[in-house]
Symmetry: C2
Subunit: 114 residues, 2 copies
């Protein structure tokens, strides 16, 4: 992942509604979530949410598929993984940051809010 892509991804996540939307999509998993459902859940007008979802898409962090009248957005785990990898290697002195948060992630309660 090159620096430009990383910057786009960081910029995409560096906004209240987009970070919230992406978290929602990560929780939703492969089923994803309809644009309207995200907008309603976050209390953001549809056209604004559409703008933000497009930004996430342009950054490669989400993909979309049409399903009847809805457009379903899905988090792209590989892209997020790429971002994490870049940050780990280039912004964390190799070990410090990740080791610090505990590398075996599976034991937390981070999935309870599904």
């Amino acid at each position: 992942m090159d620096a430009e892509t990383v910057i786009r991804a960081l910029g995409a996540l560096a906004q209240e509604h987009r970070l919230a939307a992406f978290r929602l999509l990560v929780q939703a998993g492969a089923d994803g979530m309809a644009a309207g459902a995200i907008a309603e859940r976050l209390g953001v007008p549809a056209s604004s949410m559409s703008f933000h979802l497009a930004q996430l898409g342009h950054a490669g962090l989400v993909s979309q598929r049409r399903e009847s009248r809805s457009i379903i957005y899905v988090a792209d785990y590989a892209a997020m993984g790429g971002l994490m990898g870049y940050l780990t290697e280039n912004c964390c002195a190799g070990v410090a940051c990740v080791a610090d948060t505990g590398c075996s992630v599976s034991d937390n309660e981070e999935r309870t809010a599904a």
Copy 2:
């Protein structure tokens, strides 16, 4: 680390010169680097670099200390670790992203494949 802090940190890194500066500081370690050295290295005017370093500071990603006439900036690993922790827990479905990049970070070449 709360969402607002995370957004500030992401926004701080989501800019060419700031990401480059932060990478430089991570490499420099505890010795840090003088503002002028960073500016020169990146080919950015001093006043512009000062603006960007202030943004990184405001986001808590760097600290500074005066050393004679220079102001030395130092990367804050704990802050970066906090950011990584938040992303891992909230934006990575718990495991996928980090596991994907190889959790034992100490070896360098795990990132060649997307």
